[in-house]
Subunit: 339 residues, 2 copies
């Protein structure tokens, strides 16, 4: 743990230039007890920092990863003119449990594969709270921003630690899943579980199942615009063969399960409106109107209950609307963080 | 063959009352040679007739089935006030190859399962032409109407037998598949092929894979409107356990393959515009603007080339828009057939 703190301090020094590329650090959580009572042994949480923490420690922004995403991928969204400007903020990009960087079925030595305990979105959030609060010694976050599954974590954060942040920006995320999201994710989970149980080659299986995810990643109109009939065989072949080495089938299953069970209303006996009433942070909720991967309806309902005006992206990019309307989103986030 | 003709004649007599329920008949095509040179042994094509054939034999309308559909299911769309009014028309509902009623991997005695030869949408159409022209002795159809995969057959019909009909009504069908349709169907095909090769239980596999199809069957908005989060477990369980007994995994694979290879431009060296120029029948092309199962773009482009005004359904039912906007569609079809 001491060694880790030292590495962390060196890391902070190294990353004091705003926007520069950042190294990967690991916070050691030792035995991390999950909300279901099980324990992740030697739990490690990966993270990278950008910009400088001010003296008052009041400018930290936490940025958790999307489904299968890594802090390395988040780096592309951090810096001047990017989604989060690290010129004025100290940005902590954190790897979610199960992403193949933080502790995961794929990289656990003592609990590999099926032996890895089932964790939740809330456990991801708890592990991140431990990282920020105890390991980095930051007692309050200025903001949390997260997209997709990162948005789910942001929604859990504002309920689980309502006083811990001033602001939160969940984008293309959701406080709970709709029936359509459940259909999309449960179908993938079921096929992966069946396939793994019958010893199908895991990479081929994952390539095929993750194509289901692609069906929801953008609108059909956008996909057809970007890919011709003739492009398709190469596109599909590429998807099937270029399977992630870190986000393995077992990791995919683990994070799918976490998303399927995600529902911040569960802390309020299933009443999402009560959850909304408990929020203390200021919210900028960003949704894509035509999102086919994370249905925007619960987030919009939540915004209405809170009385905050959501940013609704209308492009036909669907779930990927933030990258398609980046300029508009960057401006809205910059304004919201300045307020 | 003689016996079949006799049964057919009795069938015609039996079904002379417009709109009454109809018996299932089988046309025996003996050894039916496919376009790939292979042969379906003892090929049988199921069909049902509704209404009466007039003396001039000029009022026959052919109605092929959708993906997995049967002539028994089509019956619900035939009759006064229905999609096709059998008061004035002699409607022939025909089971497509591979649907589990007509010759299929599931019901072939000499070529069961994998031994069943691969057939195309064009082969379905050729088998239907044989049925109408030689077995029923009808040398000209007044019209062809078909939805979804039935619409694909209608598109093939107007190119393969351009003089054989006056009119055609492909609804939520397509002259060729887009990249998105290919992604949707190829993902299902790949998972079924992998699963069957590794001896996964076929019914469970089919239940899971056909859930992918449900993702495209309606818009996410419509699905969420109709199914709450709480409804989902029962909905999903029901889908997984109530798997069709006739449209088996092997049949599903066979018809998926036929759809994936469907492209009427192939008769014109890949030039869809040339295909449009070769059409002689009058067309009423019906599409759903938000169709996520059969992308409307090629059908709309085709309509533009032909210079015919398509009927565009705007509801958020997606691929199921025809049932959601039935009254409007029934009126449009009635008017088009009367013209």
């Amino acid at each position: 743990m001491k060694q880790m703190l030292l590495i962390t301090i060196i890391g902070l020094l190294l990353t004091s230039t705003p926007g520069r590329a950042s190294e990967l650090f690991f916070a050691e959580l030792d035995d991390f007890r999950l909300e279901n009572g099980q324990v992740i042994r030697d739990c490690k949480i990966g993270y990278r920092t950008f910009g400088s923490l001010n003296e008052q420690k009041s400018n930290a922004i936490l940025f958790p990863t999307w489904f299968g995403g890594t802090s390395a991928q988040l780096a592309a969204l951090i810096g001047p003119g990017k989604l989060v400007d690290s010129t004025s903020y100290f940005v902590i990009a954190v790897d979610a449990l199960g992403n193949g960087v933080s502790s995961s079925p794929s990289n656990s030595e003592s609990q590999p594969g099926n032996a890895f305990p089932e964790f939740s979105i809330h456990d991801m959030v708890r592990s991140q709270h431990h990282l920020v609060n105890e390991i980095l010694g930051i007692k309050h976050l200025y903001a949390i921003i997260g997209g997709s599954m990162g948005g789910m974590q942001a929604f859990d954060w504002i309920i689980s630690y309502p006083d811990f942040m001033d602001k939160a920006i969940p984008y293309v995320g959701s406080p709970q899943l709709t029936s359509y999201d459940l259909l999309l994710f449960s179908t993938q989970l079921l096929l992966l579980e069946m396939g793994l149980r019958h010893q199908l080659p895991a990479d081929s299986l994952l390539g095929a199942v993750s194509s289901i995810q692609m069906l929801g990643a953008q609108t059909p109109g956008y996909f057809v615009e970007k890919n011709t009939r003739d492009d398709f065989p190469a596109y599909f072949q590429n998807r099937l063969t270029n399977v992630s080495k870190t986000f393995t089938a077992m990791n995919y299953v683990a994070q799918l399960r976490a998303m399927i069970n995600h529902d911040i209303a569960r802390y309020f006996y299933g009443d999402l409106q009560k959850a909304a009433a408990a929020v203390k942070a200021e919210l900028l909720i960003i949704v894509a109107e035509q999102d086919h991967l994370v249905n925007p309806r619960p987030a919009l309902q939540f915004a209405e209950w809170i009385g905050t005006r959501p940013l609704i992206l209308g492009s036909d990019c669907g779930h990927l609307a933030v990258s398609c309307e980046m300029e508009r989103v960057v401006q809205a986030i910059e304004d919201f963080l300045k307020e």
